[in-house]
Amino acid sequence: MTPAAPAFPCPFCGAPAISPRCQQCQRDPQAPRRICGHCAKQTPSSEKACMHCQTAAGSDLSWKIPLIVVLFLLALAVSIAVHSA
């Protein structure tokens, strides 16, 4: 039998959290959250900037997509070079 979940502190502000909203920061304590790359604290994933240090959240895709495009262009260039040689 699964025990009832006790009230754990809010992962965002540390205040005693009562689901569904933290009484202090008004955020959902069970909302998906990310770790800020700058201050290493937790912020709801839905917020664009860190709630603690205001650093804007970067997406991995911002460097992965250009890298993938470059890889395919490189493959295309190599195949053209090999074909014409």
Binding site: P32, K64, I68, F72, L76
Partner: protein, 145 residues
């Protein structure tokens, strides 16, 4: 072939536990891009396509605790946590699980926090057993809620 060793995963999950909460099962899973995109990328160019698929694959460490289902999106050799999603075990949303020869699939159909990943039996030591235990706990928790 194992991506992570048990001490790394239990340490990463242990940092997310609350006082008195016990980690029961843990597993390593991935979410790859859609099969259509994988086929398209590999047909365009095999090596860049495979690299692209690897880059677009998300890695997860899932932990079942006495109170929650914890899902950590991780990256790197030391499983640096990128994102955390948690579900209260007493209020688990509808889920769909299946186990095949290689993979255990877990889908959580939550409108706010949807989740899907597949867990390779060689992803970690005892990954299959842990993933199946987590999958088995989902419907039980759902029925109890």
């Amino acid at each position: 072939m194992a991506r992570y060793k048990d001490p790394i995963v239990t340490e990463v999950l242990g940092k997310q536990l609350h006082p008195g909460e016990q980690l029961q099962h843990w597993a390593y899973g991935v979410r790859q891009p859609s099969m259509g995109l994988i086929i398209l990328l590999v047909l365009l160019a095999v090596l860049p396509g495979l690299i692209a698929v690897a880059l677009l694959t998300k890695e997860y460490v899932v932990g079942l605790t006495s109170h929650r289902l914890l899902i950590l999106r991780v990256k790197g050799g030391k499983a640096a946590v990128q994102e955390i999603t948690e579900y209260n075990r007493a209020q688990l949303p509808p889920s769909k699980t299946s186990t095949g020869g290689l993979f255990t699939h877990i889908t959580i159909n939550d409108p706010q926090r949807p989740f899907y990943a597949k867990f390779h039996r060689m992803g970690m030591a005892n990954n299959r057993q842990h993933a199946m235990a987590i999958a088995a706990a989902l419907p039980q928790a759902q029925q109890a809620a």
